[in-house]
Each structure stands twice: as C-alpha cells, then as structure tokens.
Subunit: 618 residues, 2 copies
C-alpha cells in the first residue's frame, strides 16, 4: 500500500449506488437502470452546503484522492488537489468523486451486463453525452441529499461537465471550476479523436464492438489510440525535456539498430503506456468518451453564441488554463471568459505559464494551486463553512492531529493578513478614482494590481468589478481578496469585453507603459461609458530642466533609469488633452497631484501625476 | 490531362536509371543494384553548372513539376516553385527530381522484386538513411555529368537531404536550400512516427512486412498512419478555418447521429485522405521513410555539436521556416542558423508568418516565394548562368514565347532597380559607420533594414557581413541585394551568435526602440570586438524647451507623436555615456550630427543624432 501522508484523505472505500429509475439520454435512448461508482472524502455538514462534486476526464475515475481500498497501490488522480490542507480542503468540504456512465471503472458501461440480454452491452450500449452524465450525477446528488453544490469542478472533460452543470442545473451550483477546458472541441481535437477511434474500430479484434462475446480485446487499436492521446497531453518542450532523443537503455552501443524495434526512449515510453492502457481500459468506453468530447458544444443550440448558451448559469466561475496546453489552449478558456463577462456572470481567470502542456492540470504548480486554494477559501467564507477538526479523528494519521490544527491556524492567520491588504488603499489617485465611481455600478480595472481598488469599491460602494492583470503574483492576491480578475496582457486589447458592459473603465498609472496608447483609450470608451486614467506628468518642470542639463529626468513619480524604465510612452497634460481631442474623448474631470497634494495652479508645470475622467463625444 | 499554363514545365517523362554498382548502406547492408526514377526540367548548360537537385519529403516523388506523362491528371508536388519564370526558373536552371531509394514510385523499394529471391523485398529491404539517399543521388549526379550542383534543395525531409548533401559532398553543392526542416527530430516527432508505425505493424494484414506474398495490404494501419500525419502537417488554426466543427454534408438535420460514423467534416476529410493514401502508398515505405526521419541527426557523431557536424559544408545556405509549423517549428531552423553562423558559413534565414503549418512549404505565399526567387536570381548571377529562351520552344505552349520574353525583361529590369537601391547609401550616419569599419572584417548589422550598409560594405570594403532584420519586406530587399540576412526580433537577444564571431556589431538608429537596452549593448560586445550605435539625441535643446512649454518634442530626427512613437527608451549623450560606464564599455569614438552636418561644439545641446564606437573594457 502507498504510504499515506498526513495531508492525504487516507484509505477510501468505493460505494456502488444503484439507480432503477429510467434515464432518458440525449440520443433518445433510455437506460432503464444503472450503477454509479462513488467515493467521498470529508463529511457532509448539517445543512448540506459544503459538497464539492469532482468530474473526471477521459481515463480517470471516481477515485480522486487518497488510497482506494480496492487499489491499495494507486493514489487518487487529483490527490494533490483534494485532502486536508490542500486547495479543496476536506476538513471543510465534503468531496464526491463519481465514475461516469459508460466508463469501465465500476459505473455501468459497455462491458457491464445488459439486464435485457444477460450479455455484456458491447456495441449496444448507448452513446452518452456530457449532459447525460450531468443528469446521472444530479440523481446521485439527490440520493446524497445535496440540493446545491458549493462547487462542481473538473479538468479537461471534467471542466466541460462542470460547465454543463452550471448551465443545466443553475440552482444547484454555487461555483463552477473548469481547468484546462474548452467550450467545444476544435477540428484538430476531433481529428485526433477520430484517428484514435479508427485505430480501435479497424482492429479486427474489435468485432464491431462485441469483442466480449468473441473473447478478444482490440489491444492494438486501443494501444495506438492511447499513444496518440499521450502525445497530445504533453507539450513539445516537456517531451523534449523528458525524453529528447535519448536512446533506449538496452542499447549498449551508440549504433542504430536499423529496424523498427524500440530505438528511442520515447518509443519505449509510448509503447509501454499504450500496452498498459490496453490491458485495463475498455475500448468501447474509449469510443464513447471521445465521442462525448466531440459532441460537447453548449452553443450548438444558440446559433454558436456561447454567451447565450451560458446565460442560464448563476454560479460564479473560476477558469484556469495553461500556456503550453496545445490540446485545449488558453484561447479556448478565454472564449468562455468572454461569454461569461458578456453575461455579467462573476468569473475569475488564471492563465498559468506552466511547461507541462495539458497534463499540467494534474500536476503540482504553486501558482495554479495558490489560485485554487484562495478560491476555495473564499467559497468556504462566503458559505460560512466551518473546519471540521474531528472529521479525520478516526483515521490512521490521527496522531497528526496537532499538525492539522496548526494548518488550520495558518488558514485563519492568512485570512487576517488578507484583510489588512484590502484596507491599505493608500494611493492618492486611487482614493480620488473611488470618489468618482458611483455606488453599485460596474467597474473594469485595467492593470488592477493586487486588487486593492476593486476590493475597496466592492466593500465600501457595493460596486461590481472585474480586474485585468498580467502578473501571476498579483492575480493570486486578487483571488485571495475575492476580487474577480482576468489574467491577460492589456496590449492584446479588450476583446474579451463586449461594448458598454461597464459603467467605468479604470487605467491607473499604466497608460505610460503601453505600446498601443490610442487603442487602449478607444477600447476603454468602447467597453465602458466613462474612462478614468492616471499617469505621471512628463511636463513637470524639473523634467524639462533636467533635459536642458543633458540628462533624462529621474524623479519620484518616475524613478526609473532611461534604459530600464517601463514607461515607454510619456506625455504632458497638454499632450494627453490633444490626444483626447483627436480621439473625440470629452474630458469630464481633471485632478493633478504633487505628489499627494492636489495642484490647482500651473498644474502643467507643477504636478507630477494627473487623473482624467472622460467619455466618448458622440 | 491538367491544363498546362505558360509557366508550367509542360508534359514530362520519367526516366528510370539503373545502377548495378553495389551501394554500401549505413546499416552495413549492401544493395547490389537499384533503379532510380528521375524527371528533369530545363536544359543542362554547356559547363554543367546550372543543375538544381530537388529532394522530396515523406510521400512525394521525382515528379516535381508539370504534368507527368504517366500521370496526366497530377501536377508535380512543387509546381509552384519550379518552372519558367518561377522561383527556380527552368529557363535558367536544369532541375532534377529523383525518387528516393525505398520509395514506391519507381525507385527500388520494398515492393520491388529482389534479384536474389525473385520475390518482392518486403521486410528484407534494408533500412536506409538520409545519408544513403544522398549517396545514391550522388551516383545519379555522376551519371548526368554534374560535378557540382548550383543548388540542392528540399522541404521537410527534403531539406534534411539538402543539409546532408552540403556536409557529406561539400565540393558538389554551391547552395543548400532547406525549407521547413530540422537538424533532427524531437521526441514529439519521433512519438508521432512511432504511433504511425505501430498502427501499421500491428495491423494483422501486415504479416511482418511480407504482405505482398499474402496478397494483403495493411490498409487500416496505413490509413491511421496517414491520418495522424495529416493532422501534424496542418496548423490548428488552419484546420479550424478549413473544417471547424462543420457537419458532414449528408447530415440533413442538425441532430447528432449518436454513433461512431462520420459526423464532422474533418472526420470525413481525414478518413478520405487515409483511405486514398492506403491505396497508393506502400506500408513498408512508410516505415522506412519515418525511420530515416527519426535517424537523421548529423550531430550524432559530434557529441551533439551541430556546428561541428556542419563544419565541412562549404555551400551557402538559405533556410526558411514558417511560424505556424508545429511539426518542424522555426526554433528548429534557428538551431541550424546558429550552427552555420558559428562556422562563419554564409546563411540567409527567413521566418515566414504563414498560417498553414508545415504544409506551407508546398503552398503559395508571396513572401516565401519572393525570398526564394531573389535567392535563385542571385545564384544565377553568381554562377553567370544565362537564360535559355529556346529551351521550351518545342513545347506546346511555344505560342506563349512573347510572354516568356516579357518575363525575362522583367527580371533584367528588376535587377537594375536593385542595383540602384544598393547605391543609395545616403544616410550620413551610415557613411560614418562605413568609415569606421576596416576592410575584409566581419560585421553584424542589427536591424539592417534593406541591407544598404552591408551591401555597400561588401562591394566597397570586401566586408563579410550578416544582417538581422524583422520585417518581411526588408528581408526580401536584403535577399535581393544578396545580403546575408537572418530574420528575427532583436528583443530576443543574439543567442544565435556565438561569442566574438564578429569584428564589429552595428545597431543603427534602433537602440531607442528597444525594450532590453542594457541586454543588447552587452550582447553586442559579447558577439563582436567593437560595437557601433547611433541614436537620436533626446538632449537636443529644443526637446527640453518643448517640455518646458508643456509638450513632448516632435522634431526632424524624432518625428513621431508621443502615443505612437517606436522610440520608447530615449536618452541624452550624457545618459548614454553613463550607461556605457555602468556596462564597462569604453567609448572609442563619438560623432554627432545636426541633421547631416557634424556638430563639434556643445554637441549635447546642439546635435540631433549621435554615433558611438565602443568596446568592452576588460
């Protein structure tokens, strides 16, 4: 048995739940009865408000965390995410892992015995969809007495299920967490699935799907399918790092074998993975799950409009993608973010620059896990969930109780620190901006930093805000503050945001560091009624004076040397006002400071910082 | 038969050349005799100096251009590249297409009859390598009386052959042109090849490679292999554009079929491509060619040092890659460029931002074709090759003679224009820089523009120069001038260039538009003994005066508005000199201008442009 660490959920038993109410599938077929294999971690609280449903991807199962009693050598596939003190903290949340219908790990699937024939279902097992899975999972939730999940979450195909939950059962999902997911498969995705299916279906051992009766297994086809899949889960760089052109260990000399046997490590690895998979996975399940992937497309019935397709959702969303994921790249997650922002649905989006491709959603990455942890801490806070200290008292690592308590203290302490940060709204320009923003309006904060402004506006003026920020650290700080943030580079424009979705768009001390100055100003008044910018005044008289003395100015507001300053497009008050005229921006308000005192007289010379409020002149 | 355009080589006959001198293969096996299928286009000139060898990729053949007499419905696979008036102009060059050993299009391969057994070779056909192909092709060159090729060229695997030619037969190759190629396969590349091979080998119809005797064809495996290949040839975006999630035409309604038949257009396309391929391509050849790809690695015997592996080459190189090619991405071509620059081998490199993935090397792209055309025009010029007007007089489109003549006139005219540009070295700072550069030295020109400085230095001072430039248009102008240019963004640093490879590195009027100011200055003195920079002097007195009047300066040398200026890191003379001190750069020379007159008195105030020559102070 695997060694169990104090942050593991320990040994877990699988429960099989039988459902004999017929399930009407999307295809029109009916499944008259079925079983679902389930594991749970942590305890359901008294008002049943702390449940988290975890949906699995292609080849995973209900065995999410800890060591399964029936597979003592395997850790759960998301053990680094779920457990005491982990991002989804099982001292707080009651976590459910469920094996999907059609799978081969305990829930009813093609290899199960059909009650009608007494034989394995085989090719007769119906094609199921993501929506069918959600339907079946909803019945499981009913059975467990869970009316509304604190969160439904998953990576890849699991993320699709979470999204489907949020739209088809909006009242039952408080938070939807979709990692490394996509609103629909691309042609390339479908292409790879189709090749995998052809490999299986054209394997003579497949017998049209009824290989159980022939006592054969389409091992070759399934193995090829798995090898293709494996390549798409890893990034090119990651494969280069792991294998490169390293030769297989058994090659004693440097000489090639000049044949088609295993020559390179990567061949050996892929063959091994393919063969191993073909021994434990069911080929019909592979077909079924890849087809469910192909078919998922919530916007299919809304003329391709994803925002309309997601408009029923009332959950808050967390989306995470990984830069090197070429299976479901960040651009696919951004499509979902765009639709949610359009719907004014709360959404936080982190784009993690992890090197491991699609697989990154399963791996340790401190940035990714920090975002998840902060997000779930906020879920716990918003639902007033309490830490259940005795939840694991009966487990074998109960001796570790003290260290568990320490961890809980840490959580509480870090909450205290966060509160402090939120209150530290000291920058003069931010206070003035806050003054300019009417209560209960919608605000877009571009380059929102640690989220201080939005946090302040949310708590004091009941503003609904979205921040945009590029830095990993600052995105984490925003999530920790429960500030909605979208991770992206502002230079790429505000494509994610629809016209006039906001009352105010703020760009605080960022204009001067942007390449596309005109573009961002135009975008601000496209997405919001009113724009607010602040920037250092390059017309401040010591600047000109410094130049006449032969040096680029370095002052308090602009403390950088010319060669490493992030400030690349500098201007004076007159320059900015000229540009506003050119762009038909009508200036509503101007305030100038030096450094934190308001300057009213000779501001063009005497001020170091300028704040403008403007609107588009129609 | 395909309609033949006036720029096609017309109808071409395949010749089969028999070789009965035994060929010793890299594997140690010997091929006692073999045939090569060959097509030629254009005429070999009197001194046999105008021959171009075209090497093919995975599934192509000797049928490069025009309409093959034996396949009247097929155009050659590189017909847009080879023909009268095309980049490889058959009125100038004698072009040879040859089918590789082991292929299934006429040259001896696994499906050929083995002279020993009187049966098809099958599994007994030896594994051949890129080097074996080059060896066989060299014999063909001997047979045709070609001692030295004007160029050996190819795309993808064809590019590998060109590189192998340049290193293994250095005296026989004047120019090596490798498009969308790589110095060796990555783990991901090998992985895809291995999956394809497993699909073929595990197909029961394969019979260990001796399927000819069993009268079977491993169609399923070959089809899967081809489908995988096809996906890797296209970019994700290209597939999205071509297919998206478009449903198969025969689906009358919007409803899914809930099965594993063809549901999406992309499935239909891939299946069709796979099936078509499995009818005409030989499975053993597929194995053999993918293995030749895997095995290619010229640096294998030099401890991984590609520069050493390529050091025997005496050819000039043209490398081209495509931004969306994820099979052999630009980074792989850059490895080759880096090695060649290290060896001081002449190399020009274009990185084309084409959307079509790996397949782009076969497609029309005006930027790509312009680079190829200019490059081959320079080959013709350097070898004093003449246009053979009557070469096609006997062909069916001889009525088009006039338009052919027009095209030749165009070539001559455009030559005239190019000469003019080369002479237009009018910028004052460039003339001074030219003065500072000793004859016959090596110069790196960073941001070399249209190549005017390097062209001037080459023609007047016999300098050996390399330019770096980002813009497509300027790269084309450099190639047209026969200036060696490497297309890349300077912000990415000078990784391609080894320490102290150059005597002088020039950065002319570019420093002020760079983000990584310190980095580029450090890099300049790393790669060269002496650095030369020119930049606009922000200390010019009207600038400070303008600021004191409340406006960012806009002057002759800096004519841009603050919001759209490319000049992002501005400095005065003193500022630059301070930075030099910080970086331990000793200034050897300084010259200042306003605008084209030298300024000696109060230069910090009065000059608009500064030129510095510096070296690293050890």
């Amino acid at each position: 048995m695997k060694k169990i660490s104090p942050t593991s959920v320990g040994v877990v038993h699988t429960q099989f739940m039988h459902f004999d109410e017929p399930l009407l599938l999307e295809s029109g077929q009916v499944l008259s009865q079925y079983d679902l294999a389930v594991q749970t971690y942590g305890s359901l609280n008294a008002d049943h408000s702390n449940a988290v449903l975890i949906c699995h991807a292609l080849n995973a199962s209900h065995h999410v965390a800890g060591v399964s009693a029936d597979h003592p050598d395997e850790m759960g596939w998301w053990d680094n995410m779920v457990g005491p003190g982990k991002p989804v903290d099982t001292r707080i949340f009651f976590v459910i892992g469920v094996n999907n219908l059609g799978s081969c790990f305990g829930s009813t699937g093609p290899a199960s015995i059909s009650p009608e024939t007494g034989q394995p279902w085989g090719a007769a097992f119906p094609v199921v969809t993501v929506e069918d899975w959600v339907h079946a999972q909803a019945r499981l939730a009913d059975r467990l007495g869970i009316e509304r999940f604190a969160a439904v979450m998953g990576g890849s195909l699991g993320g699709m299920q979470a999204i489907s939950w949020a739209t088809t059962c909006p009242d039952r999902v408080a938070h939807c967490v979709a990692v490394a997911s996509t609103p629909k498969l691309s042609a390339q995705n479908i292409g790879f699935n189709e090749v995998a299916r052809r490999a299986i279906i054209t394997d003579p051992a497949f017998h049209g799907g009824d290989y159980y009766a022939h006592n054969t297994v389409p091992e070759h086809g399934l193995s090829v399918a798995r090898m293709i899949g494996h390549i798409t889960y890893l990034s090119d760089d990651d494969m280069a790092e792991k294998f490169g052109r390293t030769r297989r260990q058994s090659s004693a000399s440097d000489a090639y074998q000049y044949g088609y046997g295993v020559e390179f490590e990567v061949e050996s690895y892929l063959r091994y993975q393919g063969e191993k998979f073909s021994k434990y996975f069911d080929a019909n399940t592979y077909l079924l799950i890849t087809r469910a992937l192909d078919y998922f497309d919530p916007a299919r019935h809304t003329g391709g409009d994803l925002a309309v397709a997601l408009s029923s959702a009332s959950a808050s969303f967390l989306l995470v993608s990984f830069a090197t994921d070429w299976r479901f790249p960040p651009s696919r997650s951004r499509e979902i973010v765009e639709a949610l922002v359009k719907n004014e649905t709360p959404v936080t989006y982190a784009e993690i620059d992890a090197p491991h491709g699609h697989d990154a959603f399963l791996l340790d990455d401190s940035r990714y896990h920090a975002v998840m942890k902060h997000y779930f801490e906020n879920i716990a806070k918003s639902l007033n969930l309490e830490v259940s200290v005795h939840a694991y008292a009966d487990q074998q690592f109960s001796a570790q109780g003290t260290s568990n308590l320490n961890m809980i203290n840490e959580v509480i302490q870090s909450d205290g620190i966060k509160q402090e940060i939120s209150d530290s709204l000291v920058r003069q320009d931010l206070l003035k901006i806050a003054e300019w923003i009417p209560p209960t309006t919608r605000v877009l904060d571009l380059g929102c930093g640690d989220g201080a402004l939005l946090d302040y506006l949310t708590r004091h003026q009941n503003v609904r805000g979205v921040g945009v920020e590029l830095s990993d650290e600052r995105v984490q700080l925003c999530v920790a503050k429960n500030v909605q943030v979208v991770q992206q580079n502002l230079e790429k424009g505000l494509e994610l945001f629809d016209d006039q979705r906001f009352d105010t768009a703020v760009l605080s001390q960022t204009l001067q560091s942007m390449h596309h100055t005109e573009h961002i100003l135009r975008e601000m008044v496209r997405v919001a009624k009113v724009g607010v910018v602040s920037f250092p005044n390059f017309g401040y008289w010591p600047h000109g004076w410094s130049l006449l003395n032969g040096r680029m100015p370095v002052t308090g507001q602009m403390p950088y040397a010319w060669y490493d300053t992030p400030n690349i497009h500098l201007c004076t008050l007159k320059d900015f006002e000229d540009l506003c005229r050119k762009l038909h921006l009508r200036i509503i308000d101007r305030v100038t400071y030096n450094p934190s005192n308001e300057v009213k007289w000779l501001a063009g010379w005497r001020s170091t910082l300028a704040l403008y409020r403007f609107t588009l002149d129609h």
